[in-house]
């Protein structure tokens, strides 16, 4: 079932981030459970030494953002966790799946400023929609290597070969390796 707004529900975007320790997810979901909120969609991961959670939560109306903020404030006081809540509008909740081909793009090379910016600007200017993106700094401290992996939905009419050609000039300019491959799901 796609995440789609039901008129009787209020939706919120919740962001939680703080120094990693065991129990961040349990503490956060406990607050939500006790308030009667549903976690409709979420993505949580380690970023450096931090643990970051991004969630879309819903609650039967009437329900205020203030209530969520107060409960998180009470739970996170003195823990180093920060919580942020935003009310979602109707058109922010319905999920629109991309229609074009889905591809995975890997970019890696010696660390330098501008890798994420140059790659994503090039994609944005051609109507490519990024759906997921991870970056990591790896390698030796004396020889840091930057790795960017992203998933993107290509617009109608743009093939994986076109996307690959589009990024080709950035290989030289940024001195990075770039590979683009098709990962459009197969229906079985």
């Amino acid at each position: 079932m796609n995440l789609c707004r039901k008129p009787n529900l209020a939706h919120f975007a919740v962001t939680i981030i703080g120094k990693d320790r065991t129990g961040i997810v349990a503490d956060t979901s406990e607050v939500l459970y006790k308030l009667g909120c549903n976690v409709e969609d979420s993505s949580c991961t380690m970023l450096g030494g931090e643990f970051a959670m991004i969630l879309i939560v819903s609650h039967e109306k009437p329900f205020s953002k203030k209530k969520l903020e107060e409960e998180f404030a009470a739970k996170t006081v003195g823990t180093g966790l920060s919580a942020f809540v935003r009310t979602l509008k109707d058109d922010e909740v319905c999920y629109q799946g991309p229609e074009g081909e889905l591809c995975l793009i890997s970019v890696y090379g010696s660390d330098k400023p501008g890798i994420v910016y140059r790659i994503t600007r090039e994609l944005a200017d051609r109507g490519v929609s990024i759906t997921d993106l991870n970056t990591k700094l790896i390698g030796k401290p004396t020889e840091p290597v930057y790795v960017l992996v992203l998933e993107a939905a290509l617009p109608q009419g743009l093939s994986v070969e076109d996307a690959s050609a589009l990024l080709e000039k950035l290989k030289k300019e940024l001195s990075v390796e770039i590979s683009v491959r098709l990962i459009t799901p197969v229906s079985l």
């Binding site: 796609n2 991961t45 799946g97 991309p98 997921d132 799901p185 197969v186 229906s187 079985l188």
Partner: protein, 168 residues
């Protein structure tokens, strides 16, 4: 001709191991026909297993010949009764979707070379080798016969899940 509705999770039939076919009677022949019709009616579908149309028997049909990943390497329409994997090797990750788990896809690692044995609708036993996308599709459909969904086999979390409205 009968296109059957696709059973979707959480229907418990999808999590059960299917019973082997004991005799190929008219009912089994009808089941195979229904599976083929249902496969052809699905959006870009390359296979359907009996439990996906509500029948807990070890029967599945596969045809990857019209799919871009399978068009150059396939055995055409396969009608498989009591299929068994005799050997497998190789491995590749593909992002799979399933008509029984709508709106969700995940990266799954599967063997890329298979040796198989199954019974044809005429009762003859066939052994053959499949590779590439056809091998992936066969493993996905045969998983249904053992009560496994691709959700049981997701290989990567960080970039492994993605929802789409439709896919080819």
């Amino acid at each position: 001709m009968a296109v059957k509705p696709i059973v979707v999770y959480p229907d418990p039939i999808l999590k059960q191991a299917c019973a082997p076919v004991q005799a190929i009677d008219d009912e089994i022949k009808q089941l195979i026909e229904d599976l083929v019709d249902t496969m052809h009616a699905g959006p870009g579908s390359v296979g359907v297993a009996a439990p996906q149309i509500g029948v807990s028997l070890r029967v599945c049909v596969i045809d990857v010949s019209k799919n871009r990943h399978g068009k150059d390497n396939n055995h055409g329409l396969l009608l498989m009764i009591n299929p068994e994997i005799l050997a497998k090797s190789g491995g590749a990750v593909m992002r799979e979707g399933c008509m029984s788990v709508p709106d969700y896809t995940g990266d799954v690692e599967r063997a890329t070379e298979l040796t198989l044995r199954f019974t044809e609708p005429d009762g003859s036993v066939r052994e053959f080798e499949a590779s590439g996308f056809e091998a992936v599709a066969i493993q996905h459909e045969m998983d249904h016969l053992d009560g496994f969904l691709f959700l049981d086999r997701i290989a990567s979390l960080k970039t492994g899940l993605f929802r789409r409205k439709s896919y080819k």
